[in-house]
């Protein structure tokens, strides 16, 4: 099980409160976590990454374990603490706007 924290606007869009808990098939990577997230909440498709290229949107970042994982390869394994649900995978709307 993977714990995912969504930014407020996407929590509202997906109609969830607090963390999302996902079962992820195979290794926990950005890609497999986002696949599982979008499968459960199809309204999030296109809001975090491009529909087709799967490229992360520029103002969205991925944090975990006090590290910025945004520039890690999408199929790289997430930290063990995320894979074991000790730590959440944070999807963050970049600080921007003034």
């Amino acid at each position: 099980m993977i714990r995912v924290v969504l930014p407020a606007h996407l929590r509202k869009l997906a109609r969830v409160n607090g963390e999302v808990k996902l079962d992820v098939e195979g290794e926990a990577t950005q890609c497999t976590v986002l696949d599982a997230l979008e499968e459960r909440y199809p309204m999030l498709r296109g809001t975090i990454r491009d529909h087709v290229t799967k490229k992360r949107r520029p103002f969205v970042r991925f944090f975990a374990c006090q590290e910025d994982l945004s520039h890690e390869a999408p199929d790289a394994a997430l930290p063990e603490a995320v894979a074991s649900a000790a730590e959440p995978f944070l999807i963050v709307g970049a600080m921007s706007g003034g």
């Binding site: 930014p7 606007h9 996407l10 869009l13 309204m43 498709r45 296109g46 809001t47 975090i48 529909h51 087709v52 949107r57 103002f59 969205v60 709307g93 970049a94 921007s96």
Partner: protein, 371 residues
């Protein structure tokens, strides 16, 4: 008594304003989609409880929301806008080729006959259509395949297809207006297109009379006389009497012929409204006076409408999608400003009063006249 529902899209959400036919007391609901830009928000003319909203932010991209109950509840529908085939390039501001890239939906135009069919005008300029209530969108690719498309260049707001006009008398006819390419017309439901810009004159482009390259800000037509089109161009207010085949300037005695919004009276096809703006670099009304100008003669002779509007120290803008009319016997006219005011007139523009004064900047205003 009839009811009026005003749909307002702003920089930070959407608002719904309702009133009875007197249009004096207003209930204001919102924001819906708070924090998101709502470029356009419009109801189906077939079933007015079907509403569509274009919701976007720089963070999370584009969403389309649909309500089937007049805005009581909303559901996100499809948000994938894929250009058909290899997108190719248009020109960037500096004149170099730039690949087509979807940015946002500017205009949602529900079909005149089917609540599940909607056209979407997008940036970078293209036309999309859904026939399943917004679940999926397909490009009407003939427009972007027009031979001039590689030469289209963005206006200040981007390369946006911002206005779609459908024609009840000719269901296969579609007009689209693109900044800064011009007006295009299809007579075969979007399969093929031709530019209809003859008569437009734009000093800011290499050939002022070019077939394509004009910064058209808005076009409008009266449903009973769809061959007569009115246009607010970057500079110049224009009119066509032949479905866009040729245009004549009707700016006449306006204090400035720059502006964004243009609208036609619900029952008088020759009564037209514009909001003159000082210039393309000074996006506010001349002399700090917010004045709607009305022509009752189809252009050239214009009268300022000022009662109830600020006549000093007013420096707001009225954007291209932010003016609309209702269908009541005494035609109501509505517009929103970048200062967050929404003004209404229940007597065709003679007198105005604010419905609300302190919204986020208003991007679009649409009006529904309900039984």
């Amino acid at each position: 008594m009839s009811k009026i529902r005003v749909l307002v899209g702003t920089r930070k959400g959407a608002f719904v304003m309702t009133s009875d036919g007197n249009r004096k007391q207003w209930d204001i609901a919102g924001p819906v989609f708070g924090g998101w830009e709502v470029y356009h928000f419009k109801g189906s003319p077939v079933d007015p409880d079907w509403l569509y909203a274009s919701q976007s932010t720089g963070w999370f991209g584009q969403l389309i929301q649909r309500s089937n109950n007049g805005g009581k509840t909303w559901d996100p529908v499809g948000n994938q806008f894929l250009y058909e085939g290899t997108p190719g390039t248009h020109l960037w501001y500096d004149g170099t080729p730039k690949p087509w890239e979807f940015k946002r939906v500017w205009d949602l135009e529900p079909s005149l006959t089917d609540p599940e069919m909607v056209y979407a005008g997008v940036e970078d300029a293209a036309l999309f259509r859904t026939v399943d209530g917004g679940k999926s969108w397909q490009e009407v690719a003939g427009l972007r395949r027009h031979g001039s498309a590689p030469l289209w260049q963005p206006g200040g707001g981007g390369l946006c297809l911002h206005t779609i006009v459908l024609d009840r008398n000719h269901p296969e006819r579609i007009f689209c207006a693109i900044s800064a390419a011009g007006v295009f017309r299809s007579d075969d439901s979007g399969a093929t297109w031709r530019p209809v810009n003859q008569g437009l004159h734009s000093e800011g482009i290499p050939d002022p009379n070019a077939e394509v390259g004009h910064c058209v800000h808005r076009i409008a037509a009266h449903p009973s006389r769809p061959d007569v089109l009115f246009m607010q161009k970057h500079w110049d207010v224009m009119r066509s009497d032949n479905g866009g085949q040729s245009w004549q300037e009707i700016s006449g005695d306006l204090p400035s012929d720059f502006g964004f919004a243009i609208e036609v009276h619900a029952h008088e096809p020759d009564t037209v409204y514009v909001v003159p703006i000082k210039s393309d670099s000074e996006h506010y009304p001349p002399d700090g006076k917010l004045r709607v100008y009305r022509s009752r003669s189809g252009g050239n002779e214009w009268e300022p409408l000022t009662r109830g509007l600020p006549q000093s120290d007013c420096y707001v803008n009225v954007l291209r999608g932010a003016m609309a009319v209702d269908q009541l016997d005494s035609c109501g006219v509505y517009f929103g400003t970048t200062g967050g005011q929404v003004y209404a007139s229940g007597d065709a523009g003679d007198n105005w009063a604010p419905i609300v004064r302190d919204l986020p900047a208003v991007l679009s205003v649409e009006v529904q006249t309900l039984p």
